[in-house]
Symmetry: C2
Subunit: 433 residues, 2 copies
């Protein structure tokens, strides 16, 4: 198997998550690309603190060892800060190393120079993780929509303010209370200014707009208003009128010229962004061939951000390995084993069409009891004694096999009509959305 060595700078929330991802999911890289990734160097600010790394990784202070390693084609910069990592990134690109960064502040301040420097040196500067955490919006704009002209990007791109506004809306908290809660949960910094002022969102929408429209948008030119003026009264009134208040970042072409803005706005309840709650991000892109498309997920946090760093790493590895790359479907795949359908579990909904006579409820509830199915509720809709009744039954999670058995017993009984049927209930996704 091919091996590629990378240098990691930074071991905070994102750096630590990414290192763990490389360890835990090494098999995914091997299976999909046929490559093993080694991390010979981890550069940190204070190398004297103990770090939980494998014996193959040397922890060093400062990044010189990484720059000087000639058998190391990729530098992953996860240290943060708009200015501190600038010399590292400049020098790495100049020496012909690819750079992956999650550093939105660095890109916002120096991206134009650094991207040009990368191009000059025939290497890549990748930054999927710098905008909207785990949402693959950079790849979507630069690859999936390659054949499209993008007309507009409308997004919720700051998780802190979205969390605050969600809590103000759903729990009637004041701004101060919601902010305090966000800080307690780690969704807001001790100094929340950059987030609540809209500045963070402006940096992100500037990068997205630059990518979509092919011209550099200076974040200082983004019309930026924060959420501190939004009061509980606004939220109550807007909700009653069919709107959610969200911090909305937009980049749109107006007569061929970009208009880029960040401000709190009323979003109609039927707008796809209205359902983006808590710390989640969502981005709605409108382009000429695809039309509207929407991308949604966790916009921050160590693991989601590490997922995007890994995506950039995968792209670079494919390029480096070029011809040897295994594509996802390379070679004959093993046939999938089939999970027994009877063992699938979910909540269920039954609709029995029944004769209108005594004994039906006892039949249904009795069979459920025999087959171990836990009833949540039973509703009967009965309009006219002379007609069949509709009996609706919602039940707790059960196995498909139990449900099939119960259903066949019930529908085999007298008084149950053939139109009876059942449906499964999809659970709300885990993860609090």
């Amino acid at each position: 198997m091919d091996r590629v060595r990378i240098g990691l700078v930074g071991f905070g929330t994102v750096g630590g998550s990414f290192y763990r991802l490389l360890t835990a999911n090494a098999g995914e890289f091997e299976r999909r690309l046929g490559v093993a990734v080694d991390v010979p160097w981890l550069a940190v600010r204070d190398a004297s603190r103990p770090r939980n790394v494998a014996p193959g990784t040397r922890v060093v202070q400062g990044w010189q060892a990484i720059l000087d390693d000639n058998d190391l084609p990729i530098v992953v910069e996860l240290a943060g800060g708009a200015e501190a990592p600038l010399p590292l990134v400049r020098e790495a690109l100049s020496r012909g190393k690819h750079v992956i960064t999650a550093n939105k502040a660095l890109l916002s301040a120096h991206g134009r120079e650094l991207l040009a420097l990368a191009a000059e040196n025939g290497v890549e500067l990748k930054f999927e993780a710098a905008v909207c955490g785990g949402i693959p919006i950079i790849k979507v704009l630069s690859e999936s929509l390659l054949g499209n002209r993008v007309r507009s990007i409308v997004g919720i791109v700051n998780g802190t303010t979205n969390y605050i506004l969600t809590r103000m809306t759903e729990e009637r908290l004041s701004f101060a209370e919601a902010l305090a809660e966000a800080q307690k949960k780690g969704f807001a910094e001790a100094d929340p200014t950059l987030d609540v002022s809209g500045g963070d969102a402006a940096q992100k929408i500037g990068l997205l707009g630059s990518l979509a429209f092919g011209c550099w948008i200076d974040p200082a030119c983004v019309l930026t208003e924060g959420i501190t003026t939004v009061e509980q009264k606004d939220i109550e009134f807007c909700q009653a009128s069919g709107f959610q208040i969200k911090l909305v970042a937009q980049a749109r072409l107006m007569d061929g010229v970009p208009l880029v803005t960040v401000f709190p706005a009323l979003v109609p309840l039927d707008h796809p962004l209205a359902g983006v709650r808590n710390e989640f991000n969502g981005v709605l892109v409108d382009s000429d061939y695809l039309g509207p498309s929407m991308y949604e997920g966790r916009g921050a946090g160590g693991n989601p951000t590490a997922s995007s760093v890994a995506s950039d790493l995968g792209d670079l590895l494919k390029g480096i390995l070029s011809k040897q790359v295994r594509r996802p479907f390379a070679g004959a795949l093993p046939l999938a084993a089939a999970f027994p359908q009877g063992r699938m579990r979910s909540r269920y909904y039954f609709h029995f069409v029944t004769a209108n006579r005594p004994g039906i409820w006892a039949l249904v509830t009795g069979v459920c009891a025999e087959t171990g199915i836990n009833i949540e509720s039973v509703h009967q809709k009965w309009e006219d004694k002379s007609k069949p009744s509709d009996l609706y039954v919602l039940v707790d999670e059960a196995e498909e096999s139990q449900v099939r058995l119960a259903f066949s017993r019930i529908t085999a009984a007298e008084g149950i009509r053939p139109a009876s049927h059942y449906l499964r209930i999809v659970p709300s996704p885990a993860g609090g959305r």
Copy 2:
């Protein structure tokens, strides 16, 4: 500029849209990749019919000319049918040509063989357009989530049935009426069996599951139930209970083994799939590092599908051009011109905090009249005469500059408190979602 020649097979809805995309958005390929794409051959079933193509494109019957052209590295198969294009795709891959296809039926029946054949010949078989039209779900699963282990995919992957169920829910149509409407609008075939039976969704979720889990899932092993049993009564009851009925396709790992299903199910209203309406598709993926992420857009139609074909073409072109490839940000970007913020337009919401005395309504409505702002509604919340009132005003689309002028005039007047402010209203996206 580099030029790459491709062969196009099929000129129906998708083929025609893709050809038009190449013509209309040639500039995007040139700007982003530095390449011009030529289509020397268009293979169709009946070459005698007139086709609206550029002089550089020769319309031929049958695909032999494309196979025999040794300076043509990419074949785009948009003819459709599970069996008819099989010899073409086999032969193209065997001759070392990359193949792009939007043909889900072909892949579902022969994908395992064809993918292995592509790998043997060192070329790629790309099929972003085969699943969920314009949604970049193939790229997300194979590239963006490369460092993740996927736990589950839950999606609405068939636009026809989603349209039918949406119309049954929102307009109380019967299944037959909704189907007739879908057929009239071009969202359902004359023979709708493959869609309403769940068979189309089973082919798609089989492909997505195969990609996510790295093993081939035979669509014949997918538990498949259609929507024909769903009645208006079910929909009414479920809605009253907080659910939408959707045709849900799922692939999930159960004890490490795939369980793949398609059936109509109740989806809670707070589930992100509940908001996927009409002919739209949506796919919710849960993976270990990213957590839940959601992808939504048009799942069918000529233009959205052409957008995905173009994405595949872009990927192949990057590989073919390798070192010469211009990345999206290659070179110094031109600085963006700034659209005048004052000319931005939207609907607006004003919240004036006012003294409780006569003349306030006249002031506000008078200034709006002077500045040409069209009032939609005015609501006053007035609880206690001794306290300030809250006056909420919703107005029609206006220019930011008008609104700033009106706002400054109103807030400069006596009786208007400094806490007054305004917000912009984001429109629901165009395209009927």
